[in-house]
């Protein structure tokens, strides 16, 4: 077997994946060729790194860290809510303003129309308006 053939099959020789006859040929070549033997030795040591890496002990704090990261992420989702409030707040105020203006016009109307039912109209109007105003304010405070 020539040096080049050995180089091409060395990894399979080290992994013991060659047919028996070829395993024997490579072994014989390595015994008689110091150059190939040196490369084989170096390659063996290099792949030996994998074995060392695999044996590294796992971090005893691993689960604690996973848990902490999970809780952090969940908290971030909760902290994300004020953004929603920041959007909802001006929207709520705008609706309240529109309602107040609308209510003001409605409330003014009975005085303009000089009919005999003035008093009754006003009585019906006030609780209606109060309801309209109170509900969004309550909803806003609960947010």
């Amino acid at each position: 077997m020539k040096c080049k053939a050995v180089h091409n099959n060395l990894i399979f020789f080290l992994e013991k994946e060659l047919p028996d006859s070829e395993m024997k040929e490579v072994r014989e070549h390595l015994n008689s060729c110091p150059d190939c033997a040196l490369f084989a030795e170096e390659m063996k040591k290099t792949f030996g790194i994998l074995e060392v890496e695999k044996a590294v002990e796992v971090n005893p704090f691993f689960y604690t860290r996973v848990k902490a990261r999970l809780e952090n992420q969940e908290q971030e989702q909760v902290v994300g809510r004020p953004l929603l409030v920041r959007v909802l707040q001006p929207v709520t105020f705008s609706i309240l303003l529109v309602l107040a203006v609308y209510g003001g016009i409605k409330m003014g109307q009975p005085y303009h129309s000089a009919t005999g039912n003035d008093g009754l109209n006003e009585m019906q109007m006030i609780p209606y308006l109060n309801e309209m105003d109170a509900e969004p304010i309550e909803a806003f405070l609960m947010e």
């Binding site: 091409n8 990894i11 490369f39 040591k45 790194i49 590294v56 796992v58 971090n59 691993f62 848990k67």
Partner: protein
């Protein structure tokens, strides 16, 4: 607790089951990530996200599939994404240049720290060569090689994780080993080993 029991209890929201799941499988996940990213800190960081993904998606997990297959898949995908996001620009550097540059850095680092025995340096240099060589493999070869070498999975198991046929896995591993051997030999000739 067996895997199906852990999953069943986790689906019901048991925190203990999650702890058990992490402790039983953390080595598998960290090793797989390490085999692909070659950095202990990064590997643990990715592995944490793997378990969080499992926690959040446990309801979608089908009872008839294997938990380890699922874990390997998530670990591989997340590690590959990490590699993609951290890829340096290396258009002009050859493999040998990269290795010698890294090893020179290592030597400078070590000489200022004289109580380290010499074989430590040699092994670190070998590790650099090996990682660089593995990093340069095409994606599928890299994954197959990692699962075979770091996790000692059988061809059949690798085929399941990668959703490939056994013969494709055989061919990927054959090509990966050939490529690694070639790179190491080049390095050996140029004395970068």
């Amino acid at each position: 607790m067996s895997d199906p029991e852990i999953i069943e209890q986790l689906k019901q929201g048991s925190e203990l089951a999650f702890k058990k799941l992490v402790e039983t499988h953390q080595k598998l996940v960290v090793n797989t990530c390490f085999g692909l990213v070659h950095n202990r800190e990064d590997a643990e960081d990715i592995a944490q996200d793997v378990f969080i993904e499992v926690y959040r998606n446990i309801q979608k997990f089908r009872a008839d599939s294997k938990l380890s297959t699922w874990l390997y898949r998530i670990a591989v995908n997340r590690s590959l994404n990490h590699i993609r996001d951290n890829k340096k620009n290396r258009w002009f550097h050859s493999f040998e240049d990269e290795v010698s540059a890294k090893n020179k850095q290592l030597q400078q680092l070590e000489s200022s720290n004289s109580d380290q025995p010499e074989f430590e340096l040699e092994n670190k240099q070998r590790a650099t060569i090996l990682y660089e060589a593995i990093n340069e493999l095409p994606k599928n070869q890299k994954v197959a090689f990692t699962l075979s070498k770091y996790e000692e999975l059988s061809y059949q198991e690798i085929a399941e994780v990668m959703e490939l046929s056994v013969s494709s896995v055989e061919s990927l591993l054959f090509r990966a080993k050939k490529a690694l051997q070639k790179k190491l030999y080049k390095c050996y000739q140029k004395k970068c080993m």
